[in-house]
């Protein structure tokens, strides 16, 4: 997973190439600065190396790249540059070194390419290019050399068309990619998309291309999502898009959400900001969708008549935090919608035997809508003939174009690599879907639906109450920060929350943390329990608190400190720390999770970890 950006615009001495209303007084002026700023906006996609290539009529092609964060890259001053591309990398092929950073160039240094994705047949291609000199270990580097061959091979003097060359090279690449190519002496950026996201931004006298609109949202809101197989040329005269060699028109949409919602504001970390945004993001998730009086939900989704009534199974496919949201939802589907529900890790998903495709609904849960493993699962489900559905945060994302229906979680952009508010909004959206399916199937009485909807309605306020107790969590984090390991336990809806709580802590604090179904403690993990391994338990409604407490007591008798998230009005006197969870029924474990998010954050913060960019992790995993 990587982020790419390209920018082409007129040169203005003072305010760069961006004009019109979208231009901001603070906008950096030169092409290099605009590309650099775009990379900073994309840093969540990867941050182990970064680089830019700038092209000017007189200065030719200038490349600068290095390992390290985008901020560490010094972008050369090229006053006559009219276009540039940039890349922020998260290593897949070859370690993060200066040489492996993008852009990559051809032998003579005329062509520069940035790439997001994987060229699967790069070894074979590299063998074919045996007379070319390679300087990196990346799969990407074959692309500029292939372009070089096409350019020199057409008429021998290196004066061929970049667009035609990219089109021909694209035919030879296998795998997934989004690429941007530039060439000395050419006033265009040529881009191609297959399997990796790529979006065009249309300014007044400027055009952008990037992996994600956040890269350029401060400049323009008019965007065009490229489709798989599209090749486009951005030139001073505008943008031309081709599919299968023919010019095509693609719709231009206006992005309405705020790029600045993706900025850190007054917080020291995006993660803490995003944890605190949850009451508001949940209000957005729920807005206009709950009909409490009528005991129904309006998610603006439709299924063929009779499909839900005949449904045999809902299979949720997801990865990481989204997978835990799926685990939470599966229990709600069974309880509220009366339908068998299973959850598969997307990379492990196969349609499997003994299932009827037209009576199976496969629900893909992915924040970015670009998660390669989840997209792969959707494609396998589609191929098997199942109906597919996506729950995602990202309008226009790839998954939305590959499924039969989508519900958006409306959580707003999430920048911290550790997912927080999107987990809450995913579970809330899936809970609404469970109510909608249950009502449609006649499995859920209106009165029971109403009670669940009231709990959902109360979710933002309950989360706010938890946030108001942050000080208590910070104190607990200080007390237990240096523990040897942390164990998270729960039952029923508390299990996915325990798993998510452990994931959050391990990914940002690098501590050993594991989540278990509480009943499993005695079947093995109890051997790990010592006075130096606190146990954090979900002890709320929907999580079989009393039984879980019995397991917690087992750990306590081995000396482990115990911290619990406990329903308001309940009390477990032996807990070392008790966090109160407001009364919101089946979403209480979800509210308890906010305590676990804060706990993870404060343990990591006490230890001075790189919270928004944990080592070895990136936000949107677009490789399998």
């Amino acid at each position: 997973m990587c982020g790419i950006i390209g920018y082409i615009g007129e040169i203005h001495a003072t305010d760069g190439g961006v004009t019109g209303e979208a231009a901001d007084d603070d906008t950096p002026g030169s092409v290099g600065e605009i590309v650099h700023r775009g990379l900073k906006n994309l840093e969540y996609r990867g941050y182990d190396s970064a680089g830019v290539a700038l092209v000017g009529a007189a200065s030719g092609l200038t490349v600068a790249k290095r390992s390290g964060e985008v901020g560490a890259l010094s972008v050369p001053d090229v006053p006559d540059a009219t276009l540039g591309v940039g890349h922020t990398r998260w290593s897949t092929h070859g370690p993060p070194t200066d040489a492996n950073a993008h852009p990559h160039t051809d032998c003579v240094g005329d062509v520069a390419v940035v790439h997001n994705g994987i060229v699967e047949n790069y070894e074979a291609l590299k063998r074919e290019l045996s007379d070319h000199e390679f300087t990196s270990e990346t799969d990407t580097e074959v692309i500029p050399h292939l372009i070089e061959e096409e350019l020199t091979g057409v008429d021998g003097d290196g004066d061929a068309d970049l667009l035609a060359a990219v089109r021909r090279v694209e035919d030879r690449l296998e795998g997934s990619y989004a690429i941007c190519a530039v060439r000395e002496g050419d006033d265009r950026i040529v881009v191609a998309r297959r399997g990796s996201p790529l979006v065009l931004g249309r300014g007044e006298d400027a055009a952008f291309v990037a992996s994600d609109v956040t890269a350029f949202l401060e400049h323009t809101r008019d965007v065009t999502y490229l489709e798989d197989g599209d090749v486009a040329a951005l030139s001073p005269d505008g943008v031309e898009i081709f599919a299968s060699g023919e010019p095509v028109e693609r719709e231009t949409e206006t992005v309405t959400w705020e790029a600045d919602a993706a900025e850190k504001g007054g917080y020291e970390h995006y993660m803490r900001k995003e944890i605190h945004e949850q009451p508001e993001s949940l209000r957005q998730t729920l807005a206009g969708r709950l009909d409490v009086d009528g005991g129904d939900v309006d998610l603006d989704v439709s299924f063929p008549p009779g499909f839900l009534a005949d449904l045999e199974e809902i299979r949720i496919v997801a990865c990481g935090t989204s997978y835990y949201a799926g685990r939470y939802a599966a229990q709600l589907f069974e309880e509220l919608a009366g339908v068998r529900a299973t959850v598969e890790i997307a990379s492990e998903y196969e349609f499997g035997a003994g299932r009827t495709p037209d009576r199976t609904l496969v629900v893909a849960v992915t924040q970015s809508g670009e998660t390669a493993d989840t997209l792969g699962a959707v494609r396998r489900a589609n191929a098997a003939g199942a109906r597919t559905f996506a729950v995602t945060n990202t309008l226009g994302s790839t998954v939305t174009r590959e499924v039969d229906g989508t519900a958006f979680i409306r959580a707003g952009p999430e920048i911290g690599v550790a997912a927080t508010k999107t987990f809450a909004s995913q579970v809330a959206t899936l809970a609404m879907l469970a109510v909608a399916v249950g009502r449609d199937r006649g499995a859920l009485a209106a009165a029971d639906a109403r009670s669940v909807l009231e709990d959902l309605q109360g979710l933002p306020g309950a989360v706010q109450q938890v946030l108001d107790e942050e000080k208590q969590v910070r104190e607990a984090a200080r007390e237990y920060r240096d523990s040897e390991a942390f164990f998270f336990v729960g039952r029923a809806l508390g299990v996915p929350v325990a798993l998510e709580g452990a994931l959050k802590l391990k990914e940002i604090s690098y501590d050993h943390a594991e989540g278990f179904a509480a009943g499993e403690l005695k079947h093995g993990p109890l051997a790990l329990v010592t006075p130096d391994t606190p146990v954090l338990a979900v002890l709320t409604d929907g999580a079989r608190a009393d039984e879980t407490m019995n397991n917690v007591t087992e750990a306590q008798t081995r000396g482990a400190p115990a911290l619990g998230c406990v329903s308001a009005g309940e009390e477990f006197g032996t807990l070392d720390v008790s966090f109160e969870v407001p009364d919101v029924g089946v979403v209480e474990p979800l509210v308890a999770n906010v305590y676990l998010q804060l706990f993870a954050y404060h343990v990591a913060n006490e230890k001075g970890r790189s919270i928004d960019k944990p080592r070895n992790l990136a936000k949107s995993v677009t490789v399998e």
């Binding site: 600045d260 900025e263 605190h276 009451p279 209000r283 009086d293 306020g461 309950a462 942050e470």
Partner: protein
Amino acid sequence: MSDDPVTAVILAAGEGRRLEPLTNRRPKPMVPVANRPLLEHVVEAVTAAGIDRVALVVGYRQERIRNHFGDGDDWDVTIEYVEQSTQLGTGHAVLQAEPVVDGPFVVLNGDRIVDAAVVSRVRDLARDGDHPAMVVTTAEHPREYGVVSLDDDRVTGIDEKPEGPVETNRINAGVYAFSPAVFDAIRETHATGELAITATLNELAADGDLTAVGYDGRWLDVSNLWDLLEVNAGLIGESPESASAPPTLRESVTVADDVALAGNVRIGPNVTVGGSTAIGSNATVEAGAVVENSVILPDAVIGAGAVVRDAIVAGNARIGPNATIAGGPATVVVGDAVHRDVELGGVVGDNASIGGGATLADGAVVGDGVRADAGVVIDGRVESGAVVRRG
């Protein structure tokens, strides 16, 4: 006259204890009127005056402020935060802003709403930089504020909350123009206990160095809970279209013109929303309820058939079905002071739950997190976290 950009320093670190229980979980500047925090109205006056750099001095419950304003892009300003970790007075608060102020600046209170016009005037004075300046307005109860003595357009003294009779109703509006020289002046001010900005201003006034800026425009202060209803009504009356995308309402619902509804409120059938009412995000008003001259904060639920008049229902509070806050003049005790004949039906704190059929006597103030059983009658003040049982 220089063209230096002027920074607005807004003091928002205070707690605002007189507005308890609303300020138990949010700083006073985040108490909403017309569905937007007091502080947002102040920030808007500042931006309307052409100032695009704001330093927010925050302290108590600052997450609420940071969360709402972020880096200020939604208001087209650059917001920087400085922390006043202990409340040692307004002078101390202004000092905290020193690292982010590098030229002339204006100071405002985050909980007092003023017009953009007066901010413009003070901004110009700050830019001219001759003398520090202070906005002087008039108040009905001057003794609750700093009473100002003038000699022409020079301030000669500020008498903070004077005990005895006063000769004038001119008060310090809490809006100032300063140059960075004031930081030294604050440091050199002799003060015992709290370091109030007025102590420094008095020293400047004694030297004849403090210019008065007369102002008779809008100056809205929410000193007491009942002021919130009045200020809310006033602001909604000015611009009733506070909802960016008003919710779709059933035909059976009656909504007065001067009402501010957040876009995602849920209004059940046969509900009546009377004038001067603001209902916040994700709040629910169930079937047949009547809400009038009230401030309903986000996530609150007004149960079916409930009557809520002249009331404040805080965040995520639940008013049970058929509960009654009848409204009307009341006697309210705040600390040691008894306020008679104030327009306050009742206040329900954050996350409190009032049982079905319960009644709040006029002026009752229910703390946050209170659980009140069905059918109880609540009179006076109920401490936060208390349980009210039928007995």
